[in-house]
């Protein structure tokens, strides 16, 4: 429906150099149409730079990229006709009202005044901003600005939407609203490239995830594949008696057969684990030996841990992590 090509984004060997710094350094990316593709990386990994190149705002210094088969440099206008961008920095006019912002965008897309007002009104309502339609955007909350910004991006429904850290700095409620919008977009056949620093967010929304660091792809796969590449998660244990920690460490190391990390809290230990059944055994073993547990928790691996694992593996043993993570895309 409205998407002729089954590949939304095809980039190969993208390079962008700022000064002497290779912000994006030979990046490959393939995103099929109709999915949410997560694009993860720490600050400075090159996420925003890549998005600005793919959305025709920045000219690549090397490599090629096409969006729905159109070259982002030579056919920038054709690309602009299919995409929208919601940047990391909110790109609405805070000296106008919410509805005026949408009218402005609708007019600049070519709508008549009457159609522009109609479209703006229906978008404002669909995004739950009807009550604030005539208030100045500078009086909007962060979550409202975000929603308005996304609304401005879909005044003409794009086939591909770039969402650059759409939930950065939002409270949980606003974040959920943005997530609902992303789901509705995909249900309506818009492809979404979502950058985020939160694995949790990519987990909620993305069909596939590309992880980048220092301008290069370090892993690619489904959220499940990525997480299994770093183990099930982390076991965190807090003891009632800090004095029992050496004993607990010894027992856990034996049963779990993984390195045990001593936390700065003198009563706490943690371990990265791959087999949840062993955790049950280990906890039972602790109790049997008279080590008194304050509490324990089994956490999902955080993005930090994914990075640590991926970059660690990469430095130690080539592309092992990428292979584990079913990421066949790593060069």
């Amino acid at each position: 429906m409205g998407v002729q090509s089954s590949i939304a984004i095809q980039a190969s060997g993208l390079i962008k150099i700022f000064g002497g710094d290779r912000a994006v350094d030979g990046l490959d990316l393939t995103v099929p149409a109709g999915v949410v593709h997560g694009f993860l990386g720490p600050n400075g990994a090159g996420k925003t730079t890549t998005i600005r190149m793919l959305s025709t705002l920045l000219r690549p210094d090397g490599g090629t990229a096409t969006v729905f088969g159109h070259d982002v440099v030579n056919e920038a206008d054709a690309v602009r006709g299919r995409i929208s961008l919601t940047g990391q920095f909110v790109s609405t006019d805070e000296q106008l009202t919410g509805v005026e912002n949408l009218v402005l965008v609708a007019r600049l897309l070519g709508h008549s005044w009457r159609d522009a007002r109609a479209r703006a009104t229906e978008l404002i309502e669909a995004f739950g901003l009807a009550d604030a339609a005539d208030r100045l955007v500078r009086n909007y909350s962060g979550g409202m600005r975000r929603r308005l910004d996304i609304a401005a991006s879909i005044v003409a429904t794009p086939d591909l939407l770039f969402l650059d850290e759409p939930t950065a700095g939002l409270d949980p409620h606003s974040r959920n609203q943005v997530w609902d919008i992303v789901r509705a977009l995909v249900a309506a056949d818009t492809t979404v490239l979502l950058t985020t620093q939160y694995l949790d967010e990519a987990d909620q929304l993305a069909d596939r995830i590309t992880v980048i660091a220092k301008g290069r792809v370090i892993a690619e796969g489904t959220p499940g594949e990525l997480k299994s590449s770093v183990g099930v998660g982390a076991l965190n244990v807090r003891l009632k008696e800090p004095g029992q920690r050496p004993e607990a460490e010894r027992l856990l190391a034996r049963v779990l057969a993984v390195p045990i990390h001593l936390e700065s809290d003198p009563a706490a230990l943690s371990a990265r684990i791959s087999d949840p059944e062993r955790v049950a055994h280990a906890l039972a073993e602790l109790t049997r030996s008279g080590v008194r547990l304050g509490d324990f928790a089994l956490g999902q691996p955080s993005l930090d841990e994914v990075f640590l694992a991926l970059t660690g593996h990469r430095q130690d043993a080539g592309t092992e992590a990428a292979e584990d993570g079913a990421g066949a895309d790593v060069p």
């Binding site: 025709t56 602009r80 006709g81 790109s91 005026e100 402005l104 070519g110 309502e125």
Partner: protein, 278 residues
Amino acid sequence: MTAPTTSQHPPVTLHRVLSVRTRPKRPGPLAASLTHFWRAMRTFQHFPAQLIDIVVFPFIFLVVFTYLFGGAISGSTGDYLQNFVPGILVQTVVMMSVYTGTSLNGDITKGIHDRFRTLPFWQPATLVGNLLGDAVRYTIALTITLLLGLALGFRPDGVPGVLVAFLLMMFFAFAVSWIFTAMGVVASRPETVSTTSMMVMFPLVFASNIFVPTDSLPGWMEAFVKVNPISHVTTASRGLMHGNADAGDIALTLATSGALIAVSAPLAVYMYANKNKH
């Protein structure tokens, strides 16, 4: 905050607004420019306090210079006003032209520029629309300042002369605003535009014949004031308002403005179009 919505019609769902897949034809240059002009006017409506900023300075200058120095400079405050009001009008619009650069820079640094660049309209429309908005603001500021002058005792020769003088001043300010537009494209922050431009504008405005007659100045200063384009606009405007216009001054102003536009307008448009492209 509001009563629960008792909707007579079914709520507009996200799915419905997203199901619209048709795109309008891209707007023409005129439609896009008028849209940006509309934006400028809306902003002006939302922030009428801008108007106070615009007229408060000329008002203070008018009162202070007329009553504090006017008598000493021209013998009487009434005589001083006849020369001073056209000058303060020139100062008003020239100072306002800086705003073009700071507001454009605000758009670029705050991100709405990125939104504009991904939309399929004729990109210079942003600049054209802003300049149209400036013309309206100039007209308002000139009218208010003139009314103040009239209230204090300024007596021009006739309406046509005043109108032509207004047009000349606005044309000059339009030319100067292209310099600040170019500055607005390259500067990293709006504050950089305003401080840099003030450092240039203040000496130029004061070292002109707006406030004092040139023959009282030391020779080197007099030489500078005589080549200062602001002096030429001021002299030409005084002539037009008092019915003794000098064609030479008007021609010189038009030539200076034309040269400014010829150099800085293409430069500003080029830099704007290529912003971030590298």
